[in-house]
Symmetry: C2
Subunit: 691 residues, 2 copies
């Protein structure tokens, strides 16, 4: 099943179709970089005009080659695209990278992909920026890339460039780079699978617009994580404008933010929102020892920086604990009297007096067992600014700081206002992630601390499809959910007041009355609660009949609302990722508070319970301020049942129970709805997101 | 009242006491920089060893001067501090800046301040970094500072340095800089007052640890804002570790985050959490035309950047609206067919083809009337990287972009991965704020859009103190709050079951029963609701008496909880800022959701209503999903009354009503408590904060 991608990353020969002598053209930049690899492979430059390019004789066509070529880069005018691909296959190409755009859209892309795949070759693009492999000295991109241990896969050339610039500043480089383009054949998932087994790669950085088979993407990234190669994903985070951008850019089938979040949680990968965040997190992941908890010590030579760092750390969810008396005493031993030996530690000029105090302080803090990491903040890196006599000692201390962290097997992070200084470079070389802005350091620490505290949820398999839904109404929804195991309060659907009164007598007063046939019943006054007897029911019925003229009515047992908490549970079918289970605070609180947690469905009972416990508002279910402890297990069971049902019904876009009333014993659906998938899978489903 | 600070910023003569020839010493750096101003003023170098320093003859003491000196900088060993100050005053100094630390703490500082003030001079420090005035060419700090139009006041030398480095990178500089140190005499508020009238200053940047007279600080910053000089405040944002850092650093009396937030809202100033944020916001404030709303157009030459920017903009609270057909057509006129002419606009290589397309696109977007600002994102600035032939046209276009924004009177912001390029510099010179990371641009835009939508709340005066509280119990709290105008449900305090039953009969069943004498009654089972008759009351009473043995009991009318929403209203007395009014969602939601809004008290009825409306959960009061519209005015009146009461009682640390039940008509206190101020004003009061 897995295809051989060696011809793509380490070909024995390469041809640039569309090579050019004009320094303003892609064909020139690519040809120049291809020639740098001539000592590793044969390089052919193809230009239909022939002649000489960059000191080499250019062939007029791939047909002039005297032997086969493994990798062909195509950068020709759009109209000549298919012909160039045909020629490449005829020349024996095993991998074809199409820089040119195929603007006719998905149909033309798909046809190209099929032709190449059926010929036993692989196609990257169209509309991509190139490929790079550090080990193979293959540089087929428009810009120079630093070598290193990060694999980068991107669906945007310019974002890849920005990531590369930021990586270079951070002293990082790339093992492999692939610009995906429109994914007519090779997809992100396929590349990630091969990277999981690639020795030269320590971490995988992704910018993806269209996830294609989202579950395959989740499985591939999960396997990379399992192989010890952490994955960091940059993608857009919802909003109609971002979706417009992606559809125009690569014709992407845009996924709900919630679905992407669910896939990341399933695979255990990190999701970021900007190129800067991506490199910040990658630094922490591949440089320093693994962070195991959220307790942070802060140190610096000046008190203001320590206070700001402590504020930002707390805001990011880290702990900055007080140190034990023993540790304080150990710090005090070598620091001047003016130093603050609590956490944050302020050397208060003690670093200026004797720069080795930084090393001593870091050793004490990393070794004390009271914190999981140390953040050096502020001025360090700048002593050399005052006088050259400080430069060498500062670099020596920076090197020693890296050694201290490595031997303590606990991360040391550094923020310095002199991030380009020789000392900062020495820190990086020694395995210390270095940040220019302190909030970027605390954010990376907080993210990696959170990572340490969780396990990947796993990527669930989908059940076989069940018989499709025939009744999309309220009764149909309740019936199928009840059959799946969700409990509801007693209910009858009726068409007349007389029938309503018979139903209420059977169910027992007080009852609730609902108008059926509207999506948001409570918006329109279509729900009346606590009807104590036949007269109240009659009045409510008459009023509702007059104002709303509903198709039918539901008479329901009145649940003890004040004894419990209302949740929303549901599932939405994402076109790329399939069913996504969600749970949040219900009723009017759903929209007001946006406290929602999602996971790829179907979810197990155990995952459903974890989802509930990760709600911000979980304390409401757990006896906060003397309230009753509610039946979390019953709520989790309802969610697991509902999400299992959803997994078997791809024809349902959304299933929802809102509210699900969770009581001290049991959890009961008080409403239910299902929405059929419409014909345009791109529409924004407006899923609430977990912040 | 206002003192003359001219001798501090523009002295006719200056003496450096502690000048040194050793390039590792402060006395050397200060002396060197002082001498740069010799063409503007007489400079005396003082060293008790005499001799030659930096080519000048050093005096042994200020007593050797033949005439008076206006400004004296003191950087001597701590023990010699008082003597140096005495000498300075004897030499006629009108301003003294003490670099040396006075580590004996506040007492010694205060004594120094008094001596200097009584001599008619001003003292800055001790424990400060110096002073700078661009216009006067006064450079008396340890590092070089770029000249410009930002005034910087800082209580940390190193943070000031970091801010200066970031400012320089952003092409900004300083009109004045003052390092405050321990504020023994000159405080931030006094300096800010003078800056409000300082012609060379366009914006004021602050790093403050101790706000001293917090209301004076708020008034001073409000007056600077009113004078058209926006103020940006960097300070710590709560947390015990940050407080530890500040107490150690400058012995600051640490204020509640909520109190600082309230002061910022009162004065209408911006609060930031890091040096980077500070410069990001200052750029936006002083460079570009005023931002008037939150509608943003995004443009770039590549689709990935547009999507990422749109995501981040939406997450920051900006709108990225679709453009009208007319505007789309106007864009399409000059862009290639492949371009996306919706918002975000993707030139899709149209900038590479003809760089003037950036200018045309920006002109169309800034002039269309459909957006309040334009963000240029991504690659611009980097065309010169490919080939020198692109550099000049790119710089020309950058200059034109600034002109387009200026003439449209709408802000153009730029994010470029090439923030150090000639084109980026040209953008800055043209009044375009330039950011390296796109989230920094969107965050600055979102912040300034929010600023455009609000007015300063104003700094209220405190009422005269009332007769201090004598009864700190529940009855006392209710009685004084009721007298101030807050409405409560019917209630009796009783000591026996018999008395409870009499009270309940008078009030009318159902009733609530509370155990008195505990702070969080509901934690301990000390509240029983909905007691329907004498038997239920007796059972609850007996149970409570057995388990809690309360001092007394409160029998109260049972309020119709399900008809309304429970709020918390209260006031806390901050040692620096005085009474701070707060409102949030009440009951169990207070702690779970942290949805709280604060303001300097006492608040007017109108401000109280604005506070309510700015709660995230305000829709719950406003008829969300068909619920009733509740009596916001009554809730606001209760908050205004409570905060007025608090303002007259400095002996009360906290007043709180939780819950205040807001009904469709009226708002009623269901509980009340007051807490006396304790003797240590530094204790953390754990105020919930508005996020």
């Amino acid at each position: 099943m897995t295809r051989d991608l060696r011809p793509l990353f380490a070909p024995e020969s390469v041809a640039i179709v569309g090579a050019s002598g004009d320094p303003r053209k892609w064909g020139n930049w690519l040809a120049g970089r291809a020639l740098r690899g001539e000592h590793r492979r044969t390089v052919y430059l193809i230009n239909r005009g022939g002649g000489e390019i960059l000191g080499r004789r250019a062939l007029r066509s791939l047909r002039e080659l005297d032997g086969p070529v493994e990798l062909v880069i195509v950068t020709v005018p759009e109209a000549a695209l298919e012909l160039a691909v045909d020629d490449a296959l005829a020349a024996g190409a095993k991998a074809i990278v199409v820089i040119s755009a195929g603007t006719d859209g998905a149909g033309r892309d798909a046809a190209l992909g099929t032709v190449v795949r059926e010929a036993g070759a692989v196609l990257v693009g169209p509309n991509c920026l190139g490929v790079f492999d550090a080990e193979a000295e293959l540089e087929l991109a428009s810009n120079d890339l630093p070598s290193g241990s990060v694999a980068l896969i991107s669906q945007s050339g310019n974002l890849a460039l920005e990531i590369a610039l930021l990586a270079q500043e951070a002293g990082l480089g790339f093992s492999r780079f692939l610009s995906l383009g429109n994914q007519a054949d090779v997809t992100a998932a396929e590349i990630i699978e091969t990277l999981a087994a690639h020795d030269g790669t320590e971490a995988i950085a992704l910018y993806i617009e269209d996830f294609r088979d989202g579950r395959a993407f989740a499985r591939a990234t999960a396997s990379a994580e399992a192989a010890g190669k952490p994955v960091v994903l940059l993608t857009t985070s919802g909003g109609e404008a971002a979706a417009r951008a992606l559809r125009s850019h690569t014709g992407a089938l845009v996924s709900d933010t919630a679905a992407i979040d669910a896939a990341c949680a399933a695979a255990g990968i990190e999701r970021v929102s900007s190129p800067r965040q991506l490199i910040d997190v990658v630094q922490g992941l591949i440089r320093s020892p693994t962070l195991r908890g959220r307790r942070l010590a802060i140190m610096g030579d000046g008190g203001g920086h320590g206070g700001i760092a402590a504020s930002l750390a707390a805001a990011a969810g880290l702990e900055v604990p007080e140190l034990s008396l023993g540790t304080v005493a150990a710090l005090r031993e070598h620091l001047p009297d003016t130093a603050t030996c609590t956490n944050p530690v302020d050397l208060a000029g003690g670093g200026e007096q004797d720069i080795v105090n930084f090393e001593r302080t870091a050793r004490t803090l990393l070794g004390c067992g009271e914190v999981d990491a140390v953040l050096l903040t502020g001025y360090f890196g700048g002593y050399g600014e005052y006088s050259d006599v400080f430069t060498d000692p500062e670099v020596t201390t920076a090197t020693a700081l890296g050694e201290v962290a490595a031997s303590a097997q606990r991360p040391l992070y550094a923020q310095t206002m002199y991030a380009g200084s020789p000392a900062a470079d020495a820190l990086r070389r020694g395995g210390v992630p270095v940040y220019r802005a302190v909030e970027h350091a605390t954010d990376a620490l907080a993210r990696l601390a959170a990572r340490a505290s969780r396990q990947p949820q796993g990527v669930p398999a989908l059940p076989a499809p069940a018989t499709p839904v025939s009744d999309w109404g309220y009764d149909g929804a309740r019936t199928m959910m009840a059959a799946a195991g969700v409990r509801f309060v007693g209910q009858r659907t009726v068409g007349s007041l007389a029938a309503a009164q018979v139903a209420a007598a059977q169910i027992g007063y007080p009852v609730a009355l609902k108008a059926l046939g509207r999506l948001h019943k409570s918006d329109a006054g279509g729900v009346r609660l606590d009807l104590a007897g036949p007269e109240a029911l009659a009045a409510a019925f008459t009023n509702m009949a007059g104002s709303l003229k509903p198709e039918a009515y539901s008479v329901e047992a009145m649940a003890p609302l004040s004894d419990g908490v209302e949740l929303l549970i549901g599932s939405r079918w994402d076109a790329r990722f399939g069913p996504v289970a969600l749970v949040g605070l219900g009723g009017v609180y759903t929209e007001v508070l946006h406290d929602v947690v999602v996971a790829l469905g179907p979810v197990t009972m155990s995952l459903a319970e974890k989802m509930l416990r990760s709600l911000r508002s979980f304390p409401l279910l757990d006896g906060v301020r003397g309230g009753p402890v509610l039946d979390t297990a019953a709520a989790a069971a309802a969610l697991a049942s509902l999400s299992g049902l959803a997994g078997a019904h791809p024809e349902i876009a959304e299933l929802e129970i809102n509210p699900l009333l969770v009581l001290p014993e049991g959890a009961f659906g008080l409403d239910a709805r299902i929405v059929p998938a419409d014909t345009d899978p791109r529409r924004d489903r407006g899923l609430p997101v977990h912040r």
